[in-house]
């Protein structure tokens, strides 16, 4: 163990800002990060143990004790639950002989819950030792455990029914399917790497920024900040060293576009980063990818190697003196909040993914306090196409304030879940028709941090000026219990994903869950509903987008589906608090004296 820790730490030159990489590699070697391991890492790096501990304990996929030879992380997202997750979980438990959160007595496998793993179009899905097992059934779960018992390797458990496109690439070999239902003109059109970069190197950096600006490219992560402006700020920021980050930490439940783009168009993403680097004057880029997509690692590294060999990355790109740019890949370790750009930067620096206060903005002081651009995967693809086809071409698509296209991730109650690349301005109804959805009760647009809308709003369009979305589009059928099956799951999600820094977010995410559970149990009052709405105002003063939107699942459903709440309210005497349940409150006592 000693030797491993020292060797891995040395690989990263004992640099504490590389703590994420160090911890991921050490966990790969040792299986988990025990207190003794943490102490040893701290010793080797020469930093306090608590500083290693604060990073380790922040991320969901860092384990503190052995997780079994097979660590099964079964997705617990809304859509996974729609498609029979509970039965699959029960099958795993019975077959393994242990509960979730435990490791089987023989140490063979551990069962763990995990938040949305970006497979909403093929649920229920699990990550087992980092490999994706989509479309699970109780039978498949039993067969997997039997296979583990029979001594199969993870590759043997996977079998060879690999998915379409590059999912079958020898370096990927994933069971994952792309489900690209509609190819649009931006990301999924025909594309040859290098042409855009050649065009760019014939331009000045100011011209590149001007092109992106005149195309009105806006951030595709959901917030919609103008990309050209971001690049310009970073270009103007003083400093010799600047960074380009690509944010591939998509954690918004129901989103999976980055997974498909990184599988099918990684060259385009990297080329977009190089274009940004040229515009900004950066010489290093980091692709920050969520841990759930680590199965793409070898493949992405190879794509980078090929680009270097083609001189599309590296020194003197395209023969242009002074245009040096290379990209490294940084994996996360399970924290939704790291999708927030400053939290992502903190994480890449080896720290907890806590959003920073602004100002200063990342374009002024970002990674390692240097000017840093953080762009979404899809944003960078848009930039490539704008360079290739021109701002005018781009501006012909979309709406007044939302130019170009959007890659949507459609999931939930429909026959055709998957990826739809459409122009901005598509109506919700059109998407429901394309996805062959019937009996739709509601659509969760933009994931839990977006809004839950009902049929009277299905005429609205997807656009920054109407329904903004980072891509998540979850269809909720008539037969679902929205409060129990959707809202409660999202409430739990935010509670678990809050970084814990701002008081309102840290506490109210959990308190909202308590009140919501009360309402669902028929013990809520009209006062409780009013209280949840009032808390939204408090939450607006949180530092980051997670905290500011964490009650959206609750408040948007109160607004749009109020009868669902009212139907569940207690009808008891208002002088007594309905959530106080005397028989339940004396149950522990009765049990203690019964077998005491």
């Amino acid at each position: 163990m000693e030797k491993n820790i020292e060797a891995i730490t040395a690989k990263y030159r004992g640099d504490a800002t590389r703590l994420m990489d160090i911890l991921i590699d050490i966990q790969d070697e040792l299986g988990c990060l025990t207190p003794a391991t943490v102490a040893r890492i701290a010793g080797v790096l020469g930093i306090p143990q608590v500083d290693v501990e604060q990073t380790v304990s922040f991320y969901h996929f860092f384990a503190r004790e052995p997780r079994g030879r097979f660590a099964v992380y079964l997705n617990d997202s809304v859509v996974a639950n729609f498609y029979g997750r509970a039965e699959v979980a029960a099958a795993f438990e019975i077959a393994a002989g242990c509960r979730f959160g435990e490791v089987s007595a023989d140490g063979l496998l551990g069962l763990f819950h995990t938040a949305c793993i970006g497979m909403s179009d093929q649920e229920p899905a699990a990550l087992i030792n980092g490999q994706v097992f989509p479309r699970l059934t109780p039978d498949k779960a039993r067969a997997l455990v039997a296979g583990m018992r029979a001594g199969k390797t993870i590759e043997e458990l996977k079998g060879d029914k690999y998915g379409d496109g590059q999912n079958s690439h020898p370096l990927v070999r994933a069971l994952v399917k792309n489900h690209i239902r509609q190819r649009g003109p931006t990301v999924f059109s025909d594309y040859t790497p290098g042409i855009a970069l050649a065009k760019v190197t014939a331009m000045t950096s100011a011209e590149v920024i001007a092109a992106v600006k005149s195309a009105s490219v806006r951030g595709r992560g959901g917030a919609g900040f103008p990309t050209g402006m971001k690049w310009e700020f970073a270009r103007r920021a003083p400093g010799d060293v600047k960074y380009i980050f690509c944010n591939a930490d998509e954690g918004e439940p129901g989103t999976f576009k980055d997974r498909v783009i990184l599988t099918e168009r990684p060259q385009m993403v990297f080329e977009g980063m190089a274009i940004a680097a040229y515009a900004v004057g950066a010489d290093h880029g980091i692709l920050y990818v969520r841990n759930e997509y680590r199965y793409l690692r070898a493949y992405l590294e190879q794509v980078l190697a090929v680009l270097r060999a083609q001189n599309l990355l590296g020194e003197r790109i395209g023969g242009q003196a002074g245009f040096d740019f290379d990209i490294s890949i940084q994996f996360g370790a399970g924290a939704y909040v790291c999708g927030e750009e400053s939290a992502l930067i903190e994480s890449a620096e080896g720290k907890r993914g806590e959003p920073r206060d602004r100002p200063p903005f990342p374009v002024e002081k970002g990674y390692l306090q240097r000017p840093t651009v953080v762009n979404n995967v899809e944003t960078l693809c848009s930039a490539v196409q704008v360079v290739l086809k021109g701002a005018e071409w781009y501006n012909r698509m979309g709406t007044e304030q939302s130019k170009g296209t959007k890659v949507l991730c459609v999931s939930g109650d429909c026959d055709q879940p998957g990826i739809y690349e459409v122009e901005w301005g598509f109506a919700v109804n059109d998407i429901l028709a394309m996805a062959k959805a019937r009996d739709v009760q509601a659509v969760q647009v933009g994931g839990p941090s977006g809004a839950c809308i009902g049929p009277d709003e299905f005429g609205r369009v997807l656009a920054y000026e109407d329904l903004a979305t980072g891509g998540s589009f979850i269809i909720i059928g008539r037969h679902r219990d929205i409060l129990r099956d959707v809202v409660l799951n999202f409430a739990r999600f935010f509670r678990e994903e809050s970084c814990g820094s701002c008081v309102p977010c840290r506490a109210l995410t959990g308190m909202a869950q308590v009140v919501l559970e009360r309402i669902i149990a028929g013990q809520g009052t009209a006062e409780d509903v009013a209280r949840l709405q009032a808390w939204q105002k408090i939450m607006r003063n949180n530092r980051c987008g997670l905290g500011q939107t964490a009650l959206n699942p609750i408040v948007t459903t109160i607004r749009n589906f109020r009868p669902l709440y009212e139907a569940r309210l207690s009808r008891g005497d208002p002088r007594f608090v309905p959530s106080f349940d005397l028989p339940a409150a004396v149950r522990d006592y009765e049990a203690a004296v019964a077998n005491g």
Partner: protein
């Protein structure tokens, strides 16, 4: 020679050194902005959010805001005051704050803010979280029941070699402040005292210290917190 900038505080024209922290600048101008996670001399964090004010109409934490020319700051609106009271109430409901048995009672900033805002019962559900009292350290006791995760100890206390002694662990409503067994090993009595003093509540105590000021002579027994700045 520092240059001065003009800005307004609740409509009143004020001067401050350029780049001054808004909380401190307001104090200079006789305006009290309540704080909890802020502590003079250590880097601000904007964690508790209680110092939220309107800067040019936009809510911003005053501890992390630097004063610039022509900035228009509003520190008091019914909505801001309601928000501040809510933050205090949330903190009381989130932890286990048993004032009657706390060594810090009467000198506690959280309690003093509750007095200031006349908090009786929080409009938030009590969570009664299970938390530990850590007493293994030779000089310090960490009572996690009372900790409000303001990070003042994390940011303000370092050992003789400049290394961190405290750090956050976990995340969300499970966050906890850990004490490093190595870097805290040989801390002086003075540093232990400083750790206790920097804590706004009674979550960090020096062993063998407590209840040393009689009721009636404690910091917040007679005058509300902030009244030394603004009546």
């Amino acid at each position: 020679m520092a240059s001065f900038v003009r800005f307004t505080l609740d409509g009143r024209a004020c001067l401050a050194e350029e780049g001054a922290q808004l909380v401190a600048a307001a104090k200079e101008c006789g305006v009290y902005i309540p704080t909890l996670c802020n502590y003079p001399g250590i880097p601000p964090k904007g964690a508790c959010r209680i110092c939220t004010v309107l800067v040019n109409g936009i809510p911003q934490t005053a501890c992390t805001t630097k004063v610039v020319e022509d900035m228009a700051v509003v520190t008091r609106t019914p909505e801001l005051e309601e928000f501040r009271k809510a933050v205090v109430e949330i903190l009381f409901a989130e932890g286990n704050h048993l004032c009657p048995s706390c060594e810090r009672s009467g000198n506690c900033e959280l309690q003093a803010l509750a007095y200031r805002y006349r908090v009786t019962v929080p409009h938030f559900p009590y969570l009664f979280p299970k938390r530990d009292v850590e007493a293994w350290h030779p000089k310090l006791v960490k009572d996690h029941n009372r900790c409000i995760q303001c990070k003042r100890c994390i940011r303000g206390i370092h050992n003789a070699e400049g290394k961190a002694i405290f750090a956050f662990g976990k995340r969300g409503d499970k966050v906890v402040i850990n004490i490093d067994p190595e870097t805290s090993k040989n801390i002086s009595d003075e540093l232990a005292q400083r750790a206790m003093d920097i804590c706004p509540v009674g979550a960090i105590l020096r062993k063998g210290k407590g209840f040393d000021t009689p009721i009636g002579r404690r910091k917040y027994d007679h005058q509300p917190i902030g009244s030394e700045v603004q009546a």
